[in-house]
Structures are given as C-alpha cells and as structure tokens.
C-alpha cells in the first residue's frame, strides 16, 4: 500500500468538474489500497512524504506546481507531471522544437524574435505560412494568447503584445477543422482518445465570445474507432517529450494528422474516460503501483 499525493490549488478545487474528477481518482486509488492526500501550495514540503505525486494544478516552470514536481524528483518520488514535461510542454517554443527534432508532423511553424516583428518581417511570415496564420505566446494554456491574424497590422499588434511576455513567439500555419483529436498518452502508450468539438463561434477549444466563455464538447472515442495514423502520431508526439501523461491535440487535414500541441497536465474531467474505464486505474498504477486491492 502506498500514499498518493495530489497537488491541487484553489482554482482546481473550485471547479465542480475538476473536483468530481479528483474524487473519482481518489476513490480509485483507495480502491487499489492506497492512501490519498490532497496537497495545497502552502503544504508543498509534504510532497517529500508521499510515494507518488499527481499534479493537478496549472503547470508552468515559474509556478508552485513546478516546485512540487522538482521536490518530488529531489526525493526520488514518481511524479506526473515530471519537471521536464512541465518545462517543455509549458513553453510552445520548446515543445515544437522537440517535435521538429523527432520529425513529428506539425503545421508550418516559425519562431519570431523581437527584431523580426517589423512590417517587412510580417509580410515575409505571411508569405511563408499563408494567410490567415496563428500567433501563440509560448506559455499559452486553455487557448489563451492564441490569436488568428489576417493582416500585417493585426500581426504586428498581436505580436507586440505577446513579445512583452516572451523573447520568442510562435507563428504557425492555420489549419481549419471542426474538431481536434485529443490523444491521451501515458508512459508512451495510448491512454484514451477523444474528439474536442470546436465551438462554431471560434477556432479554439476554449474562447471568450461576446463576454461569455465557450468550451468545446468532449466525445470519448473507443480506440478501435480512431484512425490508426492519429493514434500513432499522438503517441510519437508524446514520446518526443517524455514518458509522462500527455494530451496530444491533433488536426486532420487532407487525411494527414498534424500535431497542434502536446499538453502536460491534460484535462481528465470532460468525460475523456467514458470509453476508457481503466483510465484512472492506469494513472494511479503508474504512480504508486497496483497496490494490494
């Protein structure tokens, strides 16, 4: 029997969907014979006392969640998300560099530094990537700071805003689709597959439209119904980052899968597990073993 720590924060505990998912995870771990502790940021030192740590709060190398992950590694404790996965996935530049290095197919992508954010630079980017294109600030999450631009003026305006937060930003070919595949991968193996149905009002899986948050619908899809190249691409993308838990977003255009991003700390509360009843069991087992239960 082991002890599983779940690192959470107020935002996570304040969301009924996320809280429900956490309770299900706790119940699964307890059913497997493990003890579960929720660890809050002010208790981060308690990380040293558990046998496995599952991080369920926003990840970023500058956030307390990264401190929790690093402390776990310093103490030899298995952790999801591990610090390297946080470092890579929380930074789109680093993430795309890893995918490119492993020849994982992504939309045409350029990294722009401050000196390239000029009118002639913008024209050149449109000439390379087409029009419209997508700009991303590298630390974007929940589709924040991801914007579609169609003109040089728009590109310059958005890029100048993003470059205040990062010395490099991402410019990417725009690929249109009515849904994204979300391929969940754990330890280099398929964990689940889902479709994220993009709201008609936007091109993102989450957006603010007329002051209202709109979310994608989640449809869990059995593995047998997922095109083989989509699963293979998702697994390859995850392996390009590490052996942790990832949610890989994929768009299929002209029958070709393109990885849009690899998310550490992927959402599990949207019904992703509907077709995968062993999802929580596998996550717990990866952290603290099968247990006596």
């Amino acid at each position: 029997m082991g002890s599983l720590g779940i690192f959470v924060d107020r935002q996570v505990m304040g969301s009924s969907e996320q809280l429900t998912a956490l309770i299900r995870l706790r119940d699964q771990a307890e059913a497997m014979g493990h003890t579960v502790y929720f660890i809050f940021p002010v208790e981060v030192r308690k990380v040293a006392r558990v046998d496995g740590l599952f991080i369920r709060s926003r990840t970023d190398p500058l956030h307390i969640s990264y401190v929790a992950a690093k402390l776990a590694v310093f103490h030899g404790i298995p952790v999801i998300d591990d610090p390297v996965s946080i470092q890579v996935c929380s930074d789109k530049v680093n993430m795309y560099l890893h995918l490119m290095n492993r020849n994982v197919r992504i939309p045409e992508t350029r990294f722009l530094s401050k000196r390239e954010i000029t009118r002639s630079g913008a024209e050149e980017v449109f000439a390379t990537l087409g029009r419209p294109l997508i700009l991303k600030e590298p630390s974007t999450s929940f589709s924040l700071r991801v914007e579609k631009v169609e003109t040089v003026d728009q590109l310059l305006k958005v890029a100048k805003r993003f470059i205040k937060l990062s010395d490099w930003i991402v410019a990417q070919q725009y690929l249109s689709s009515s849904y994204d595949w979300r391929i969940g991968v754990l330890d280099g193996k398929l964990l689940y597959a889902a479709q994220y149905i993009i709201p008609s009002e936007t091109f993102k899986i989450q957006d603010t439209v007329n002051g209202h948050l709109v979310y994608c619908a989640v449809r869990s899809i059995p593995a047998a119904e997922v095109p083989r190249p989509v699963i293979e691409t998702g697994v390859a993308a995850a392996r390009a980052i590490g052996r942790g838990l990832y949610g890989v977003d994929i768009k299929v255009c002209d029958d070709t899968p393109y990885v849009i991003e690899v998310n550490d700390n992927p959402s599990l509360e949207g019904g992703e597990d509907t077709s995968y009843p062993d999802l929580y069991h596998r996550v717990v087992a990866a952290l603290v073993g099968e247990g006596p239960g």
Binding site: L62, H63, Y66, F74, V93, N94
Partner: protein
C-alpha cells in the same frame, strides 16, 4: 585590464558562447525563462549539444524554493523557507513564485504594514502563493556577484560559497543573495546580473575567464 572595445563586448543583452570540448558555455546577463538566452540554450540542447548552464539549471537557479532545496542538498547553507498565501512571520525576505514574478526582486519586510503591502503585490492580490524566509532582527542582506564562481572582493568564506554555488548551478554570471548574521552566511536566492552593474574588477574577471575558456 579593461580593454578598448570591451564596452561593446558586454553590451546589454549580448550573449557569448564559448566552446570547451563537448560543452558550450553560454554567458549572458539574464537566463530567465523565455528570454533570448534561455531559447538559445534550449535550441542548442534540442540539437544535442551540452550547454553550461543547461536550461534546467537556469530554472533551478531562479525559482527560489527550488534553488534553496537544490543548494541545501549540495551542502550549501541556505535560509529556511516556506510557502504561504497570506501570513508571514516577521522579519522575513519575500519572493514571488509565479509566472509574473521577477527573479531579481526580493523584499525584506520587518513590520506588518510593509509585509501586507508587499504580499498583496507579489501575490497579485492574493492570486498566487509566495515564498518567505524568516530572518533575525540583526540579519543583513549581502548581494555578491559571482563570475564563474569567482568574486572580486568577497571574503574567503563568501568566496568559497560562490565557488560552490557555481559548481552546483553553473551560471557563469549570477548575483548570490546572502543573509548575513554575524559571521554566518546563508543563501537566500540567485538573481540575474546586468553587465552594466559589473565593477571594473568584475569585468576583468569575466574577460579573463572567457579568454581562458576560448583558448581551452
């Protein structure tokens, strides 16, 4: 000696690479997350190069609780630290731990009013946690610039701590923030160093070590 043209060598934002064997040493005034220097290091790493420092080491150095946990594990004396979301025993040194925190900023708070104001600021109005380090009433702060672990004017005790800090974190240029109580020193944080803040002797050390690395 400061050489003619050295002003340009260390112009603001300049990044210097020195190749030694299989290692590429990256000299910069700021290794913070998502800076030009950080991305230069990440790009080299993805190409399979070994950099000094690594991108991982830069994050470990500038995120205060990780810095102290790592330093303590290496036997370097550090200040005790805790994470809080509002309360802090006084006096203490405070650091933000979040995306918008500036790694070079720290606040020494000795009274409740200042503490409340600083906490409100570094937590972005209570949105994020922060790191505090309790200190004694008589504790002072001693920032020391370390250049490849060497210092221009530090005592032997502080100099050897800086050398040890370089061995662990491998940041060629770093400000070591020490808490000094009597003749005892404890690491509080590591922060970036601007070239423009370097004293003449420190620039000489930097130039000399870079030349040594250049000639291997």
């Amino acid at each position: 000696m400061v050489r003619k043209g050295q002003q340009d060598t260390f112009s603001a934002g300049s990044i210097h690479l020195r190749h030694m064997g299989r290692e590429t040493h990256v000299i910069s005034e700021d290794y913070s997350f998502k800076t030009e220097t950080y991305y230069r290091i990440v790009s080299l790493e993805v190409e399979g190069k070994t950099t000094v420092p690594s991108s991982c080491e830069t994050l470990e150095a500038y995120v205060v609780p990780i810095c102290l946990a790592r330093a303590e594990g290496a036997g370097i004396p550090v200040l005790p630290w805790e994470i809080s979301d509002h309360q802090v025993p006084l006096p203490a040194i405070l650091y933000g731990v979040h995306y918008f925190a500036d790694p070079s900023e720290y606040s020494v708070v000795r009274d409740p009013e200042t503490a409340a104001r600083v906490v409100r600021f570094i937590t972005n109005g209570g949105k994020y946690p922060f790191c505090y380090q309790p200190i004694g009433e008589e504790t002072g702060i001693l920032p020391v610039t370390a250049i490849f672990g060497k210092t221009a004017q530090a005592t032997d005790a502080v100099g050897s701590l800086c050398a040890e800090i370089y061995r662990v974190f491998r940041l060629p240029l770093v400000n070591c923030i020490f808490a000094q109580t009597g003749d005892r020193f404890a690491l509080s944080a590591l922060t970036p160093v601007r070239y423009s803040s370097l004293a003449r002797e420190e620039r000489d050390i930097l130039t000399r070590v870079m030349e040594e690395k250049c000639h291997g």
